[in-house]
């Protein structure tokens, strides 16, 4: 299993190198500043280039994560937590390329009880869905998702969640939205080594203690009162 962690680190290093050549999509400066300024996030990706997302896809994802996780008294906004980076890295990872996914046909839609039946890997699903979602947004509001007002973003996301948007030449909208929402949650609450949950802001929100959990005494000591936590991630004690 160490092998996989090493692989991931190497992969992230590669991502950093790759980003220099790549991209017009700039990240908010605050994210880099936070990453540079905090020991705890030292192993989070220091730069923000995308290894999978195109600039247009990146703009869509950034708008989604900033809308779902706005800056407020509880956390910084989604891009400042690295949620877009998390999604980009996930789509470029083995999972995004269909690892552990049975991929043989024939392909049929099936009943709801039969689960995921599309011939698409997660990265293929995103690639097909985002332009279709943006096209639907243009049709509804005259602009792509990243350019519409917060009220319009809210209405469009709710409509996607409820299956009221049609993704022309794209996958069923509920399947895309379900995966997108799950990935936003993963970015928010997975260990920061995956690129999201920067400064463990997601963990702090729910008082999750992170990787150190020796609770033989705490189980009684903190009965019905909040256990003070200063969450540590995998990179903090590597």
């Amino acid at each position: 299993m160490d092998r996989d962690s090493e692989g991931r680190r190497a992969f992230l290093k590669g991502a950093v190198a790759g980003s220099a050549a790549a991209v017009t999509t700039a990240l908010p400066g605050t994210a880099s500043a936070q990453a540079a300024g905090s020991k705890a996030t030292a192993s989070a990706p220091a730069t923000a280039g995308y290894v999978f997302l195109t600039p247009d896809e990146g703009a869509f994802i950034e708008a989604v994560v900033d809308h779902m996780v706005p800056a407020d008294a509880l956390t910084p906004k989604g891009t400042d937590l690295g949620l877009h980076i998390y999604i980009d890295r996930a789509l470029a990872s083995g999972w995004g390329k269909g690892e552990r996914l049975y991929r043989q046909g024939p392909w049929k839609q099936g009943t709801g009880n039969q689960g995921y039946q599309l011939p698409l890997t997660p990265s293929e699903l995103y690639r097909a869905a985002i332009p279709a979602a943006d096209a639907a947004c243009v049709k509804a509001y005259g602009k792509t998702f990243d350019k519409v007002t917060p009220e319009q973003r809210e209405a469009f996301l709710v409509a996607m969640q409820q299956g009221k948007v049609t993704l022309e030449n794209g996958p069923p909208v509920r399947i895309f939205f379900g995966m997108l929402y799950q990935n936003v949650m993963e970015g928010m609450f997975a260990d920061p080594i995956y690129g999201g949950n920067r400064d463990k802001a997601g963990w702090k929100l729910v008082n999750f203690p992170g990787v150190i959990a020796t609770n033989q005494q705490n189980i009684d000591k903190f009965r019905d009162r909040r256990m003070p936590t200063n969450p540590l991630g995998i990179a903090d004690i590597s």
């Binding site: 779902m68 407020d72 999972w95 996914l101 260990d191 729910v206 999750f208 959990a213 009965r223 019905d224």
Partner: protein, 593 residues
């Protein structure tokens, strides 16, 4: 190209989880030359479950690192025989493990002694409620051909091997305070005292006591303090880290084959373990009622090999055992149209429902837990005084609470009506997620004519063999049981006066492959006393090949409310004993057909 034929051994074991590990140890210690073929890789705590890497929810829960790789082998599913079955493309409802240790690596440790009520289910219900109480479509409901009394010593052996922590409720017929008063009599206490409770199990226990029920700590193979088992395996004390289900244990506090029976077997010169060895077929001698060995592929080289053996032990996960029998053509496949055949018969699952409670001002510290921090009531399961007549169902359910393995990606409780994102969502998470607990029921599942397993006509695995096809849905018996369970759960939940509550649903449910439900699948190669309706006899010996023994919950003719592993382990120890004491002296059928 013909497979390279290896030298014959006394026994070949397919799959090295709990049952394979138990047989590996017992048979090699008895002097037999034993080879185990495991399609996954080697596992050790030192290499695989060290801090900090092991505490990674994304890797082990969402990405399912220790589970069967569905891209190579999965099942197809449908709810009724009229539908087209489609592949389970990503595992969801159940999660078989794939490595040395199998699902024993990632279980929570729930360990129960199934009682005589289960093994004598048909005769007890007919005697008390009349034969019409069991519907025609449940005609495969049967007595198992075993008794609690003959299993007691094997339950005991498993519990002491696996560091089970609990409190006896019935010692030699005397009811003990603090334990389960409905359990069958045990000869001695658990090897270790119960784990500590948490606030949610404490509140549940108080409510259950007030309602007149009999709560007790769930027995679990999580060592409540440091322990050395009779085979010399060392356990650390449980640290209530909250990463139990789906994870390996870095403290060696959770019993697993890779720290107990497997290293014990590896001490013997008679035992050889081959990992990355994928068995495709059990070979049979068409002229005699026996098998001759197995065909397997070395996954590291692609080479196909034949391993001849005097005995074959089929020890993979529940459904995979049924799959192997079908792929090997051993035993007649079950046909629901005529209700003939035995392989794939009696496939059963599990029913669940639950209520979510939110208490303003309370703090559960829900990330502190172990597999055994749950408390349970058995008043609607092993309690034979519970009258099923007015409710019309066979079997029972347990009810429990206690925050086993809540982690932040997968477990984000907020009251109903909360937005799914935005500031209001974050505020609700901050306010409610650690002020919440749930009460859940887990119920049995009875055989039904149209719930069964066979080979899929369309989809294939990585070896171009047909996938196993599951045809399953919950039926009237489960619906009635669930309706009753929801009522009991909701009454208990209401008595706790939570600020907000999401009630348990008692409505009929249909089985779906998402989300996760339970890895307590049962049946497919049911045991019994009649070779026309069972795949194996009560010693788990194939009726069709006397030197083939089939382990696992696939031998259960129905599924009870308890977790299966305690019984699975006890049955494996019993089979090992009968092989040593009787079979080796006179190889042949142990029960005459």
């Amino acid at each position: 190209m013909a497979a390279r034929k290896l030298k014959e051994v006394d026994a070949v074991i397919i799959g090295l989880g709990w049952t394979g590990g138990i047989l590996a140890k017992e048979l090699s210690e008895a002097g037999l030359k034993v080879v185990a073929l495991e399609r996954g890789r080697m596992t050790t705590t030192e290499a695989d479950f060290q801090l900090q890497q092991v505490r990674d929810e994304l890797r082990y829960v969402q990405r399912q690192e220790m589970m069967q790789d569905a891209s190579r082998d999965t099942v197809t599913m449908r709810n009724t025989p009229k539908q087209d079955a489609l592949p389970v493309r990503r595992l969801g409802s159940f999660l078989p493990g794939e490595a040395v240790g199998g699902s024993g690596l990632h279980w929570s440790g729930g360990t129960w002694r199934w009682s005589d009520n289960e093994f004598k289910v048909r005769s007890l219900y007919e005697q008390r409620y009349g034969s019409k109480f069991i519907s025609a479509e449940m005609s495969d409901l049967r007595d198992w051909g075993i008794s609690y009394a003959e299993l007691e010593r094997y339950y005991d052996k498993f519990e002491y091997m696996a560091a089970v922590s609990g409190k006896a409720g019935n010692l030699n017929g005397r009811i003990q305070p603090g334990g389960n008063p409905f359990e069958s009599p045990r000869a001695r206490e658990y090897p270790l005292p119960p784990l500590k409770n948490v606030l949610s199990s404490q509140l549940f226990a108080e409510a259950a006591t007030k309602a007149g029920y009999h709560p007790f700590p769930r027995p679990a193979a999580n060592a409540s303090r440091a322990y050395t088992n009779p085979d010399g395996a060392s356990f650390g004390g449980c640290q209530y880290c909250g990463f139990c289900q789906r994870f390996g244990c870095e403290a060696n506090a959770k019993a697993s084959p890779h720290i107990t029976v497997v290293p014990a077997a590896l001490k013997s010169q008679n035992f050889e373990l081959r990992t990355n060895a994928w068995v495709t077929q059990i070979l049979k001698d068409p002229s005699a009622k026996r098998v001759t060995g197995v065909l397997y592929t070395n996954l590291l080289t692609g080479e196909e090999l034949e391993q001849p053996a005097s005995m074959v032990m089929l020890c993979t996960f529940t459904m995979n055992n049924t799959h192997m029998m079908l792929l090997s053509g051993i035993g007649q496949p079950y046909d629901p149209a005529t209700q003939t055949g035995v392989i794939g018969r009696n496939y059963c699952y599990e029913t669940r429902t639950g209520a979510n409670l939110f208490f303003e001002g309370r703090t559960f510290n829900r990330f502190i837990s172990a597999g055994g921090t749950n408390w349970v009531i058995d008043d609607f399961n092993a309690n034979w005084d519970f009258d099923r007549a007015p409710h019309g169902f066979v079997g029972g359910y347990i009810v429990s609470a206690g925050h086993n393995t809540n982690l932040p990606i997968g477990n984000r409780p907020v009251p109903g009506g909360t937005p799914a994102w935005g500031t209001a969502w974050k505020q609700a998470l901050a306010k409610w997620s650690d002020a919440s607990m749930s009460i859940t029921s887990s119920g049995g599942s009875m055989p039904h004519r149209y719930n069964y397993l066979d080979l899929d006509p369309t989809y294939k695995n990585a070896f171009n063999q047909p996938l196993l096809r599951m045809t399953f849905d919950f039926k009237e018996n489960e619906h009635r049981m669930n309706a009753h369970a929801a009522q009991v759960v909701n009454e208990l939940a209401k008595s706790l006066n939570a600020t907000r509550m999401g009630s348990a649903s008692g409505k009929p449910q249909s089985w779906t492959v998402v989300p996760y439900l339970s890895t307590h699948n049962g049946g497919g190669t049911p045991m019994g006393t009649d070779p026309k309706t069972s795949a194996v006899n009560p010693f788990l010996q194939s009726w069709d090949a006397h030197n083939l023994f089939v382990m696992g919950a696939n031998v259960f003719p129905h599924n009870g409310a308890y977790q299966p592993t305690g019984l699975v382990g006890a049955l494996a120890y019993r089979t090992a004993d009968i092989i040593k004491s009787r079979y080796l002296k006179n190889p042949g059928p142990l029960v005459s057909a």
